[in-house]
Amino acid sequence: MELLYKSWPWYVAGPVIGLTVPLLMWMGNKRLGISSSLRHICAACVPANIPLFKYNWRKEIWSLFFAGGLLLGGFVGGWVFANPEPVAISAKTSEYFSSFGIHQKSALMPEEIFNWQTLFSVKGFLLMIVGGFMVGFGTRYAQGCTSGHGILGLSALQWPSLVATCSFFLGGILFSHFILPYILAL
C-alpha cells in the first residue's frame, strides 16, 4: 500500500514516459505533444479570425482528452496518492531555496510562492502570469515543447527537435542562474 504513495525513481518514470510515444502512434498515428492542446483551446474558444486558429479543431479533439488525462494523472498521483514526504532534492538545491525562505514541505509546488496571495504581488505575477505567458508564446513559436520536441522529436531522431531541446534548456539554465534569484528575492 505504501508503495502507491511513493515517488517513482527516474528509471521507472522515464521509461513509462518514453512508452507514451509508441502507445499514441499505435492508437491512431498520434504524436505526443501537449502545447498543441493550448492552440486547440484557442481555436475552439477565441479564434478571432487569426490564421493560426482557423482550422477544424474538432479533428484534434483527442489532444484535449489527452490533456484531461494529464490533469487526472496529476490528481491520482499528486492528490489521491500524494507523496506525504517532502521532495528529496539535493542538499545544495535545498540550501539555495532556504536562502529565499522556501522550504520543501511538499513534493511538487512550494506553497510559499505559488498561492493566490502572491499571484497578486509582483513576485507571483512574474512567476505565474509572465512565466505562463512565455510558456504558451514560446512553445507555439517553436511548434512544440518538452514532450513534442524533447521526447517525441528526439525519439524520432529529428534534428530540429534537438535544436529546440538545446534552446529551451539553454533558456532555462540562463534564466534560473542569472534572473530567477532576483525574482525569488522580491
Binding site: 498515428n29 496529476g74 498521483g77 500524494a82 538545491t93 505565474m128 534548456f169 539554465i173
Partner: protein, 142 residues
C-alpha cells in the same frame, strides 16, 4: 468516443509518470537547471531511448495502428522560430517549473493557482497567433 476515452487513459498514465516522477515539481526543475541532481536528466535519458527503440521496432515489424493503418514516422521541420521560441519557453519553464503538460498535472495535483498560469499560457499562445506575421523566424506551416 471510445477512442477518446483511450486517449484520456493514455494521458492519465503519462500524467501519473510525470507526477510520480516529480517532473512536474517546481523544486525538481530548479534542481535540474542548477545541475545539482541527476534525477531529471535520468528521466530524459531513459524516456528518449525507450521512445526511439520503440519507434525502431514499430517500423521494423511494420506494426499497424489499432485501425490497421500504416504508422507514419514523426517528422519535425526546421524554422528559426524554433530557436527563438524555445529560448522564450525555457525562461517560462524556469519561472513556472512547468512545461505545458505539467501545467495540467499541477492543477490536478491540487495546485489550483496554476489555473492562472495555464490561462496565461493560453493567452501567450493566442497572442503569438495574433502577432505571428510580424515575427522573424518563418511562418510555421501547421
Amino acid at each position: 468516443m471510445k477512442k477518446n476515452i483511450g486517449y484520456l487513459l493514455a494521458g492519465l498514465v503519462f500524467g501519473l509518470a510525470l507526477t510520480k516522477g516529480e517532473a512536474i515539481s517546481w523544486y525538481r526543475i530548479q534542481e535540474m537547471f542548477r545541475f545539482e541532481s541527476f534525477h531529471m536528466f535520468g528521466i530524459f535519458m531513459t524516456a528518449i531511448p525507450v521512445g526511439a527503440i520503440s519507434i525502431f521496432f514499430l517500423k521494423k515489424f511494420d506494426v499497424k495502428t489499432v485501425e490497421g493503418e500504416p504508422i507514419e514516422k514523426p517528422k519535425k521541420d526546421f524554422h528559426p522560430g524554433i530557436i527563438i521560441g524555445s529560448l522564450i519557453f525555457g525562461f517560462g519553464w524556469a519561472l513556472t517549473g512547468a512545461c505545458p503538460g505539467p501545467l495540467y498535472s499541477q492543477i490536478g495535483s491540487g495546485s489550483l493557482v496554476t489555473i492562472a498560469t495555464l490561462l496565461s499560457a493560453l493567452a501567450g499562445t493566442w497572442v503569438f497567433g495574433r502577432v505571428q506575421h510580424l515575427l522573424p523566424g518563418g511562418q510555421p506551416k501547421s
